[in-house]
């Protein structure tokens, strides 16, 4: 290496990011060249100053994350608007194509959307607007499962940190009741129900409810609502497995810390049981009839309270032990009719097609009228030019 390339490396010698070979070359050069040695000192002083300045600098405001998240939420829920460039280009293209294309557009409009037109029947077959989003989420849904597989250690650590397990929080037992909800678009709802059932069984859980809405008429989509209960330890795995059954449209997880509620119920139950025992002891003693009757009445109340509290505690403990996942399954495409349509169905279809056609025709007429009104100046210009050209041509033609 010559002096210049080695000298160029000095800042990275100071920040200690050179390879061993580069470092050795720089060290040799610094020993040999006084100028380089001085520069290393200056760079080290500069680095120290910059690091001090950096450390002394205040951090950003506390609300920065909230602002960023709010912006993301806003952008994700707001419809995409065309950028300024596109708007400008669109405006320009209107001017450029306007006059000569007017006639062609009007004729094409009639040809395309008029009765019996080539695209007349396709108006209702336009893809739903959410389609591209579903495709994007499909990739995401698949990568959730692959993330867990590709980064098992980190996945576990991340999960522990986010759920509060595994860390210092382990010292204090927390009762967390977790629920989840996933909405999926699937190729076949029937198959997805069976798969979800087997996911639940494999993870030691079960399907706690199922509502299957089979399509009654052609064009409807098959959908089903399921609730899957799985042991809490299996919750994350079940969420990933269930999400992989189709294209995720939405997914949410809700975790509720019920520790204080469980502690409170346990304490109240202990108290109620103690009261019950005390009252039973009073009953055992010999005493006045009135006292015994009163004690008996209170004992009945105490037992009722014990039962209520025990029930509430059991429900709370169950919500901690078992997590529920609400699953909504929807078919990707409406089911085509398999049965031969009846005569009335055919007439109904024909009527609906006719109404659609009239609607399309009316829209085409109104649209064409708008075009003509909007382009009157250009049409007039074309007609005037054509008129003068004709007159000139007619005037030159010998009679």
């Amino acid at each position: 290496m010559t002096h210049r390339p080695i000298s160029e490396l000095l800042p990275w010698y100071v920040n200690d990011t050179l390879t061993l070979e580069e470092r050795t070359a720089v060290e040799a050069e610094v020993e040999r060249c006084a100028e380089c040695a001085t520069e290393v000192e200056q760079l080290a002083a500069l680095r120290d100053y910059m690091l001090e300045t950096d450390a002394a600098m205040e951090g950003p405001s506390q609300t920065l994350f909230a602002k960023t998240l709010a912006r993301i939420e806003r952008e994700e829920h707001a419809p995409r608007r065309a950028g300024k460039l596109w708007a400008a280009l669109a405006g320009l293209s209107w001017i450029l194509v306007a006059a000569p294309v007017v006639a062609a557009v009007v004729v094409m409009g009639f040809w395309a959307f008029g009765p019996g037109g080539r695209f007349a029947g396709q108006v209702s077959a336009v893809a739903p607007p959410e389609q591209p989003q579903i495709v994007q989420l499909d990739a995401s849904a698949r990568s959730v499962a692959s993330n867990a597989a590709a980064y098992p250690a980190m996945y576990q650590r991340f999960k522990n940190e986010t759920t509060g397990a595994g860390g210092p929080a382990d010292a204090v037992h927390r009762d967390i009741a977790r629920t989840g909800a996933i909405s999926l678009v699937v190729d076949d709802v029937e198959r997805a129900i069976n798969l979800a059932d087997s996911v639940a069984s494999q993870r030691g859980g079960y399907v706690s409810s199922l509502s299957d809405q089979t399509p009654q008429s052609p064009g409807e989509r098959h959908s089903a609502d399921m609730q899957v209960s799985v042991p809490s330890a299996q919750f994350d795995g079940a969420m990933i497995s269930l999400a992989a059954l189709g294209v995720v449209r939405s997914r949410s997880v809700n975790a509720q810390d019920v520790t204080s509620s469980v502690v409170d119920l346990t304490a109240r139950l202990d108290n109620a049981r103690r009261t019950e025992r005390d009252l039973a002891a009073i009953m055992d003693r010999q005493g006045k009839i009135d006292d015994i009757l009163q004690a008996e009445q209170q004992l009945a109340q105490a037992r009722e309270q014990v039962e209520q509290l025990a029930g509430q505690l059991q429900a709370q403990q169950q919500s901690v032990a078992l997590s529920t996942i609400d699953l909504t399954l929807t078919d990707a495409a409406p089911k085509p009719s398999t049965a031969a349509p009846s005569g009335s169905d055919q007439l109904g279809d024909a009527w609906r097609a006719a109404v659609r056609s009239v609607g399309s025709f009316t829209l085409a007429i109104v649209g064409a009228a708008f075009f003509i009104v909007a382009y009157v100046p250009y049409i007039a210009l074309v007609l005037i030019l054509a008129f003068f050209a004709w007159r000139r041509f007619a005037g030159q033609t010998p009679r």
């Binding site: 160029e8 490396l9 800042p11 500069l46 950003p60 405001s61 995401s140 849904a141 991340f158």
Partner: protein
């Protein structure tokens, strides 16, 4: 080893963010917000603008997470976004005809290099010298000396060849050396 683990963690967080995981996004945000903010402050010297750019960078991370390629280091990816946002912001806020150096000093309410030289304060000298660097030169110095990146990583962040990084650093050093010489001369005089 620690840095490697941190990189792996960040990769995982980015993969989770690609799945729309907001918890992972918050963790990544918290891990980088202060570093990015300070880097952008050093580049822009304007608190609100620096915060706005951290916001822009993190929104870009949210959008771009599915496209993140695993071969690059996650933090260089984030700094790459921040680098380009900062350069764009500096270019936007200065008049088109003015030169980079004069403009870099425009929003700076502190004394000019000449004024601070008179004041005889080495730190002011250094500060002024750093601020008078062009945005590209300042970025290379910041990324190397404050953020501790290698020249290969800086070339990745700035999206330019390694030789360009070295050349930028060379010019920045030459510029800064004048201030060291001035400070040295003052030290000898006193």
């Amino acid at each position: 080893m620690e840095a490697q683990r941190s990189d792996e963690d960040t990769r995982f967080l980015i993969a989770q963010i690609a799945c729309g995981d907001r918890v992972a996004f918050e963790r990544l945000f918290r891990a980088f917000e202060v570093r990015l903010y300070r880097y952008l402050m050093a580049m822009l010297h304007a608190r609100e603008l620096a915060e706005e750019l951290v916001n822009d960078v993190m929104v870009e991370v949210w959008r771009g997470a599915p496209k993140f390629r695993n071969e690059s280091k996650p933090s260089t990816w984030l700094y790459g976004i921040a680098y380009h946002k900062a350069i764009d912001a500096i270019r936007k806020r200065k008049p088109a005809t003015a030169e980079l150096r004069t403009i870099a000093a425009v929003p700076d309410p502190r004394p000019s290099p000449e004024e601070s030289a008179v004041a005889g304060d080495l730190h002011n000298d250094l500060d002024a010298a750093l601020r008078s660097l062009s945005p590209e030169h300042r970025a290379v110095v910041e990324l190397a000396l404050t953020q501790g990146y290698s020249y290969q990583q800086i070339s990745e962040i700035a999206g330019c060849p390694v030789n360009t990084v070295k050349t930028r650093m060379f010019h920045a050093r030459r510029h800064l050396r004048e201030y060291f010489l001035r400070a040295g001369a003052r030290g000898e005089a006193s």
